[in-house]
Symmetry: C2
Subunit: 214 residues, 2 copies
């Protein structure tokens, strides 16, 4: 069809590219301030389009925010896949998982920053979207735990509460990691070591767990 050299793209392609640019610049802006304080005009300006053109792609900034959740969840999903792939050897699942966590955060700071910052941030729709994804993450981990503890008489309720605790510990580490390269004392290694020990502590707890009588 096109013997033209390059550069020229179809209209659909061009649109997609602009859309992506809008998402990208917003993600970059969220690194400094929360989503609810970022204006449509600001995003449009950074993306190199006129404010009104924004509406060709998103109904509002809130709508863009919700889309951004999907976008920025990708690294986290990748993390699960990576962690699972390493698990059969089983040599040290925890150490392995924490290393993967560290790498993913390092390589996708903006995404994780967005997720942690907006998880309890201002925009309700975004909050809900993140919550849903995180729930999914927890339930995936619950399945994994079920496999590991198979036959040890764990109730699904207890499995879920354990997974929930582990996710909380990991997210705690993520937030600490994100603070590293912009201000305070702890360095990456310290944080990852602590996180590893925390997960190990939980694992020890699991080995002697007994449900409280109801």
């Amino acid at each position: 069809m096109s013997e033209a050299v390059a550069k020229i793209a179809s209209r659909a392609e061009r649109k997609e590219r602009t859309r992506q640019k809008l998402l990208d610049v917003t993600l970059a802006l969220v690194a400094k301030r929360s989503l609810s304080s970022i204006s449509l005009r600001e995003v449009a300006r950074d993306a190199g389009i006129v404010p009104t053109a924004f509406y060709r792609h998103f109904e509002s900034m809130d709508a863009l925010g919700v889309e951004l959740v999907d976008e920025s969840m990708r690294p986290l999903r990748q993390m699960i896949r990576d962690a699972r792939r390493g698990s059969p050897t089983n040599a040290d699942i925890i150490k392995n998982t924490v290393e993967i966590l560290g790498r993913q955060v390092r390589e996708n700071q903006l995404d994780f920053r967005f997720l942690t910052r907006e998880r309890y941030g201002g925009v309700a729709g975004v909050r809900r979207a993140i919550d849903t994804e995180l729930r999914l993450f927890t339930s995936e981990l619950t399945v994994d735990l079920a496999r590991i503890t198979a036959g040890a008489g764990w109730s699904s309720d207890d499995l879920e509460m354990t997974a929930d605790l582990m996710v909380a510990a990991m997210l705690n580490a993520v937030m600490d990691l994100l603070e590293v390269d912009q201000r305070h004392a702890d360095d990456e290694r310290t944080i990852l070591d602590r996180s590893e020990r925390q997960l190990r502590l939980i694992a020890f707890g699991m080995s002697v767990w007994r449900s409280t009588p109801r």
Copy 2:
């Protein structure tokens, strides 16, 4: 001095009252949107003063935010005191602590909402202030853990990482509790029960903890 009936207050009193009102209305506004998206004019309007009068009390909204951290930390500090008072009996520290947590959150929703929402929110100064206070909280808990595990050969590093995990678990519960009365499935009892079991799991972990060889 004043035989006048009532109502009349000294200038200093009146000023303090207005200042408090500014803090209060801001706290109320934060329940719906994040601090960085709340305008000075909005706060002044709700407090019943003209925008310019705001400056008689705070240099900027950011400064007000930092003050608000102190303000809203009070319930959390109270929580520590309450929890400690109950501890000598030792019958069930965890259950007791979680009950206190539940009550404090119920009775001081706005404060906890502010803290959790702005902990990773937009304004750097506020974030730092909250972080400092939370660190203090963790170190208090570390001291308590040191007392409990005295003579069991715990390194201060391990004590701190355990306290950190416990705080993460509790804050996780706080955030879930705050979502309760505005949208989703889990009810308060469910969340508190889960939190209790999580802390219990950690306690079990402690009972078999051994440091990984360095």
